[in-house]
């Protein structure tokens, strides 16, 4: 799987390259600033980009802006954004085009290598990988909104975990229920959100997007 990486701190960049290559990703280019990132994304069209929010030259949200710009030029280009802090506002901007293939994680999530690699793969496959911090803020805020009001609190939980990018098996393990029970919940979620039966993965992404975009 071909990856473009953007991270300005050499220490972290090298670490991420090592981590990704150890898991059979092919890092086609690693850049350290916003303008090069945009160029690299447009020329390489990678399977997934892993991007730090804060990059030179402005040291503000350069990485995020470059990622959004690249997705405007190449719709659905999978991007996983890493940051020292998460902002609901940025999550919303990343999700605004409603095409999926978006991840937004705290940098510390890299510590759990297995989960991080899963997240990269999830995003590359067009899914979402939202940080649990984003999800937990949404959980308290979104509960009363239409059409999510119809969901039970268990279904909310399941949908939140889906948005984090977990598979049904992972959700089952996390909630101490069977996988069969999880798929019962997901089917009920799809029905309540009015998502007609189609290829399961697609419905999953759309349910999550409905949840995250509100």
């Amino acid at each position: 799987m071909r990856v473009v990486l953007a991270e300005d701190l050499a220490l972290l960049r090298d670490g991420l390259i090592r981590l990704l290559e150890a898991h059979d990703f092919d890092v086609v280019e690693a850049v350290d600033n916003g303008p090069s990132l945009l160029r690299a994304l447009v020329t390489h069209r990678p399977d997934v980009a892993v991007v730090d929010v804060r990059l030179p030259p402005t040291f503000t949200d350069e990485g995020l802006r470059a990622a959004i710009e690249a997705r405007a030029q190449i719709p659905g280009l999978p991007v996983l954004v890493l940051s020292q802090y998460v902002e609901q506002l940025y999550a919303r901007e990343l999700l605004a085009d409603r095409t999926g293939g978006v991840g937004y994680l705290l940098k510390d999530r890299v510590f759990n290598v297995r989960q991080f690699v899963d997240a990269v793969e999830q995003v590359a496959g067009g899914g979402t990988a939202m940080d649990p911090e984003v999800i937990s803020q949404l959980l308290t805020k979104r509960a009363g909104d239409e059409p999510l009001k119809a969901l039970t609190s268990r279904e909310h939980e399941v949908l939140g975990l889906m948005a984090e990018g977990r598979s049904n098996a992972a959700i089952a393990a996390r909630l101490y229920i069977t996988e069969k029970a999880v798929s019962k919940h997901t089917n009920s979620i799809f029905t309540k959100l009015g998502l007609p039966p189609s290829e399961d993965d697609n419905r999953r992404v759309r349910a999550v997007l409905a949840y995250l975009n509100g």
């Binding site: 402005t58 802006r65 902002e87 506002l89």
Partner: protein, 381 residues
Amino acid sequence: MANEAGKRLMLLGWALTLLVLAFVGLALFIFTITGFGLVLVSIGIPMLLVSLPVVRWYANFHRGWAGRMLGTQIASSYRPPRPGNVLVRLWGVVRDPATWRDVLWLLVNSIAGLTLTIVATVEAVFGLLFWWWPKKTALYADAQLIKWLLSPSKKALLASRVRELAESRAETVDTQAAEIRRIERDLHDGAQARLVALGMNLGMAAEAVERDPENAKLLLAEAQAASSEALAELRGLVRGIHPPVLADRGLVGAVQALALANPMPVEVEADVPERLPAPVESAAYFAVAEALTNVIKHSGAHRARVYLRHDGELLRMTVEDDGRGGADAGAGSGLRGIERRLSAFDGRLDVTSPPGGPTVVTMELPCASSSPKTSPSSGTG
């Protein structure tokens, strides 16, 4: 027409009131001067104790009237009372130049003011009889006279400004120092301590890795947890110093982010066309954040609204909620904190919060726009 006649009657009323008051003023002047004359005989001091507060009240009454007449505000510039017993306070009042200006005005008022109010009375009577008669020239002149004599002198204005600045600077310095101490303590007890623990765990894991691999794994997991916690603490600390989103997006973006992260629905309406100077952005952001925290903690509100408006010279921020009201700028340390932050920039805080709500907190910061901090290369908005 009835309305117009009522107005003219009002003018007559005022002219007569001021006429009578001019006589009272003359008496007050004589009484006060006699008081000064008799200071060495013991009766003078009690006389002044009575007369000087009356003089101030009398002057303030005229300031209020003339201010309304001229459509402005006429400030007084008395020095703040000196701490101490009655005699010390009296001495403070006697030494205050504003007191002497008041006394001088009393004399002028009992001559010129008296004349003007007599003319004004005549005018008002004619005004009632003939609709074309100019009805308030004399009253207007009297108001101008009061404004001229009772407005604070330039020197007094400067002195009070200097006093204000010295106070707000002292408060700012204290707040800054306390803040830095808090940050130092947080780093010392938090992230630093966790990094020490992490290093220790790693050291022990390195030792145990061959002898006891199971234990080494456990130690490594602990080290990982410690580094996560250290990062979380540093994140919190950084947010408290200068939230990254404020640096990225400026005041409006940061307040929108704040609203989104808030458990309560918060509507943000903003009209701030340009980036503001960084210190102002920071003060404004923390003021809004504190006001919203107050809403969540104390108001029992279901929703809140934030308005931000910058008209080139003044940044006005309003935080409204639909809660139970009854907030008091004096009592709530939160609101007091906002006031302190804003005063360093000559800003103001105003709270209206009738019992039953709604609470409206209005904050103002004078400031001119600065050019955006980001370079033009940063494409999309």
